[in-house]
C-alpha cells in the first residue's frame, strides 16, 4: 500500500482508532454454534477438483473428438459419483426424533419470513426477497423450515436451515400447492396440488433434496395430506362422487383404505350445502392412535343458519367418533391441533353474532383446550384473540402449540401475536406481529 495523499496516509490509523477495542467476548458462543454445523463434504465444492482461476476469455479452439469424448466421460463419471454420494448421504440419514424443547418462532411479515426467539423476543428476518414468502412450517426435528414463494404461475416451495443457510428449492417450477406436511423423518413432504390445472387436487410427494414432485395415486380428489407419526401412511380428505371422507394411503403408494369416516349425504344440510366444506383438516395425535378433524354439524345455537363446524375425535381406525365441543353457543369450532405431548387438543372457537363484532368488524376468537382422557374432555377457553376471518391457511389455523406443550402462540394477522397462558387463559402480547400462522420450532436432542 503506497498512499500518496496525506489524507490516505492518515486514514489507516484513524480507522484503527475507530475500530477499537479489538476484542470479542462472543468467541465461546461462536465456537459452540459452529460446532453444531456439519461441514460440507469436500467433493461438493467444484473448485476443489476443477481449476477455477478466473482468466480473460480467449478465442476458443475446436476440441478434438477424442478430447470431447474424454471430457464427456469424465463429466459422466463425476455425475455418477455425485449422484451415488447424494443417494448414500440421503439414505444414511438417521430418522428424526422430536424432543419437547422450544426453539424459534417463524412467521410471515410483509412477505418475508422472520424468526423470533421467544425468550429474548428479538426478531430477525430469515428469508427476504421481492416475492412474497409465506407459510413457514418446521420439519419435525426442527432442522429445516419449509416455506412457500408466491409467483404468477403458482407457488414454489423452498426449505432453509434456521441459521439461513443451505436453501433447497423443492419445486422445479411453480405448482398450485394448497397443503403440505413434512414426513416424520424429514426426507419428503406430502403435498396437495392441482397437478393438471383442472381445479381438482391430488396428492404428491416432494423429496427434501429437491428432486421434484411425484404423484401419490389415490384415485379420487384428495387434499389435506397428513403423514402418520410412524411415517407409514398418509391420512387425507378424499372426495368420491361429491361425498367427502377421510382415507389413508401407504406413503410408498398402494391401495387406499376403506373410508374412516364419510359425510352423511342423506341429510338436509348436505342437500343444501353439499359436502364442499365438510370434513376438513384431519390431524393425527402424536402417538398415532387418534385422529381429529372438523365437520359441519347442525348447531342450534349457531346464529345465522343453525349450522357450524365442530371438532371430532376418533380412533385411528375410524371407530369411536365423537364431538368435543367448547360451547353450544359457538358458531364455529375448528382447526384442531394436538399438543405435542398428546395430552390436550386445542381448537378455535368463534361467536359470529354481529353484536359480537368490534368497531373494526372483528370477532372475538378464542382458543379452547380440551384435555382428553378417553372420551371425556375438560374444556378451558383461552383468549380472547381478536381476529378477522381470513381464508384458511395451508398451515392450518392461526395458532400453534409450543413444542414443549406449555403454551400456545396465536396471531391476529397484522395486529398482534401473543402467547396464551394455559392456566389462566390470559394472553401475553409479544413485541412483534405476524401476517400469518406462527410456527414454533421443535428442538431435538436436549
Amino acid at each position: 500500500m503506497t498512499p500518496t495523499d496525506p489524507f490516505e496516509e492518515r486514514l489507516p490509523s484513524a480507522l484503527a482508532d475507530l475500530a477499537q477495542p479489538l476484542s470479542s467476548d462472543y468467541l465461546p458462543d461462536l465456537v459452540v454454534r459452529t460446532r453444531r454445523v456439519r461441514q460440507r463434504p469436500a467433493w461438493t465444492f467444484p473448485e476443489r477438483w476443477i481449476p477455477m482461476t478466473a482468466t480473460t476469455r480467449r478465442a476458443t479452439t475446436p476440441m478434438s473428438g477424442l478430447r470431447v469424448a474424454l471430457g464427456l466421460s469424465v463429466a459422466l463419471l463425476l455425475t455418477l459419483i455425485i449422484t451415488i454420494g447424494v443417494l448414500l448421504a440421503t439414505g444414511s440419514a438417521p430418522p428424526a426424533v422430536v424432543s419437547p424443547q422450544n426453539g424459534l418462532i417463524a412467521y410471515e411479515l410483509d412477505g418475508d419470513i422472520w424468526v423470533a426467539d421467544p425468550d429474548t423476543t428479538e426478531p430477525r428476518v430469515l428469508v427476504d426477497g421481492p416475492a412474497r414468502e409465506y407459510d413457514p412450517w418446521w420439519s419435525r426435528d426442527g432442522s429445516r423450515l419449509v416455506y412457500a414463494i408466491a409467483t404468477d404461475g403458482g407457488d414454489l416451495l423452498r426449505t432453509i436451515r434456521p441459521d439461513g443457510t443451505d436453501e433447497i428449492t423443492l419445486t422445479p417450477e411453480p405448482l398450485a400447492i394448497s397443503w403440505y406436511d413434512w414426513s416424520p423423518d424429514g426426507r419428503e413432504l406430502a403435498i396437495a396440488w392441482d397437478a393438471d390445472g383442472d381445479g381438482t387436487t391430488s396428492l404428491g410427494l416432494l423429496a427434501a433434496d429437491g428432486r421434484g414432485p411425484t404423484t401419490l395415486e389415490t384415485g379420487m380428489e384428495s387434499m389435506y395430506p397428513m403423514w402418520s407419526p410412524d411415517g407409514s401412511t398418509i391420512l387425507f380428505r378424499g372426495v368420491v362422487e361429491g361425498v367427502p371422507g377421510l382415507y389413508t394411503v401407504p406413503a410408498t403408494g398402494g391401495p387406499v383404505s376403506a373410508p374412516l369416516v364419510v359425510t352423511d349425504a342423506t341429510t338436509d344440510m348436505f342437500r343444501e350445502y353439499g359436502g364442499e366444506n365438510d370434513i376438513q383438516e384431519p390431524t393425527w395425535s402424536p402417538d398415532g392412535t387418534r385422529i381429529a378433524y372438523h365437520a359441519l354439524e347442525v348447531v342450534p345455537g349457531a346464529g345465522i343458519d343453525g349450522n357450524g363446524y365442530r371438532v371430532h375425535v376418533m380412533d385411528a381406525d375410524g371407530t369411536n367418533d365423537h364431538v368435543i365441543e367448547a360451547s353450544p353457543e359457538s358458531d364455529d369450532e375448528w382447526g384442531a391441533l394436538w399438543a405435542p405431548d398428546g395430552r390436550s387438543l386445542a381448537f378455535q372457537t368463534l361467536d359470529a353474532d354481529p353484536d359480537a363484532q368490534d368497531e373494526m368488524g372483528r370477532y372475538a376468537l378464542e382458543v379452547a383446550v380440551a384435555t382428553t382422557d378417553g372420551d371425556a374432555a375438560t374444556i378451558r377457553r383461552l383468549g380472547p384473540v381478536t381476529y378477522r376471518r381470513v381464508p384458511y391457511s395451508p398451515n392450518r389455523t392461526s395458532f400453534g402449540w409450543a413444542p414443549d406443550s406449555s403454551t400456545i402462540v396465536a396471531a391476529d394477522p397484522k395486529v398482534a401475536t401473543m402467547t396464551l397462558d394455559l392456566g389462566t387463559g390470559a394472553p401475553t402480547m409479544l413485541p412483534w406481529h405476524s401476517d400469518g400462522v406462527p410456527a414454533w420450532q421443535p428442538l431435538v436432542g436436549s
Binding site: 500500500m1 489524507f7 490516505e8 492518515r10 486514514l11 489507516p12 490509523s13 484513524a14 480507522l15 484503527a16 482508532d17 475507530l18 475500530a19 477499537q20 477495542p21 479489538l22 476484542s23 470479542s24 462472543y26 468467541l27 458462543d29 461462536l30 465456537v31 454454534r33 459452529t34 460446532r35 454445523v37 456439519r38 461441514q39 460440507r40 463434504p41 469436500a42 461438493t44 465444492f45 473448485e47 476443489r48 411479515l109 410483509d110 418475508d112 430477525r124 428476518v125 427476504d128 441459521d163 439461513g164 443457510t165
Partner: protein, 192 residues
C-alpha cells in the same frame, strides 16, 4: 502451530483447529464488521453468520495460505447480507455506542471519532467495505476486488469515489461531534 497446518486440519473436520483459527482472527473480523456496518449488534450477527459459513465451507478452500483473504471475503459478504436485511427491517436497530463499551483511553478524542464515523455512515456499505479492506485491513486493490468479487476496474472506481465522498463529508462538516465548530481540519485533529 502455523496457520496453514491449522487450516488443513480444520478443513479435514478438526473443529478444535477451527476454534484456534477463529480465536486468532475474530477480534479483527469483528472490527471489520463494525466498521462496515456501523452497528455493533449487527456486526456481531454478521461475524457469527460468517463463522458458520466459514466452518461449513472450509473444505472448499483449496489453498490454505489464502485463509486470511478467504475469511475476510466471507465476513464482507455476511456484512452485505446483514446490511441488506437491515434496510428491510420494520424497526431499525438503535444505533448504540459504535464500538462497544467506551474505554478510559484519554488520548481518544470522541468528537473526532464522531466526525469520521458520520462520514463513514454516509457511505453505502459497499463503499465502506472498500475503504475498510484497503485502509484498515491493508489489502492491495486487486485483493480488495477479489475479496468483494468485483472486477479490478470496478474496485478502483469504487475506492476512488468512496475516498472523495469521505473527504468531502469530513471537510464540509460544520460541527464536530461535541457541537463545537470545526475549522480547517480536513481530518480529525488527532490525525492532522
Amino acid at each position: 502451530m502455523d496457520q496453514g497446518r491449522l487450516v488443513v486440519q480444520a478443513r479435514e473436520g478438526d473443529h478444535d483447529a477451527f476454534a484456534v483459527l477463529l480465536g486468532a482472527c475474530v477480534a479483527r473480523l469483528d472490527a471489520v464488521a463494525r466498521l462496515i456496518l456501523r452497528d455493533p449488534e449487527l456486526a456481531r450477527d454478521a461475524v457469527q453468520e460468517a463463522a458458520i459459513r466459514a466452518w461449513r465451507d472450509l473444505p472448499g478452500l483449496r489453498e490454505p495460505d489464502r485463509f486470511d483473504a478467504w475469511i475476510h471475503r466471507v465476513v464482507v459478504r455476511a456484512c452485505f447480507d446483514a446490511a441488506r436485511k437491515r434496510r428491510r427491517r420494520v424497526t431499525e436497530v438503535e444505533l448504540l455506542a459504535l464500538d462497544g463499551p467506551s474505554t478510559p483511553d484519554v488520548s481518544v478524542d470522541i468528537a473526532d471519532r464522531d466526525l469520521l464515523d458520520r462520514a463513514l455512515r454516509r457511505l453505502e456499505p459497499e463503499a465502506r467495505a472498500t475503504i475498510v479492506l484497503r485502509y484498515y485491513v491493508g489489502m492491495s486493490v486487486p485483493d480488495v476486488a477479489a475479496c468483494m468479487g468485483i472486477p479490478l476496474g470496478t474496485a478502483k472506481a469504487r475506492l476512488s469515489r468512496a475516498l472523495v465522498a469521505l473527504r468531502t463529508t469530513i471537510e464540509a462538516s460544520p460541527v464536530a461531534g461535541d457541537g463545537t465548530p470545526v475549522t480547517a481540519a480536513p481530518l480529525p485533529r488527532r490525525y492532522a
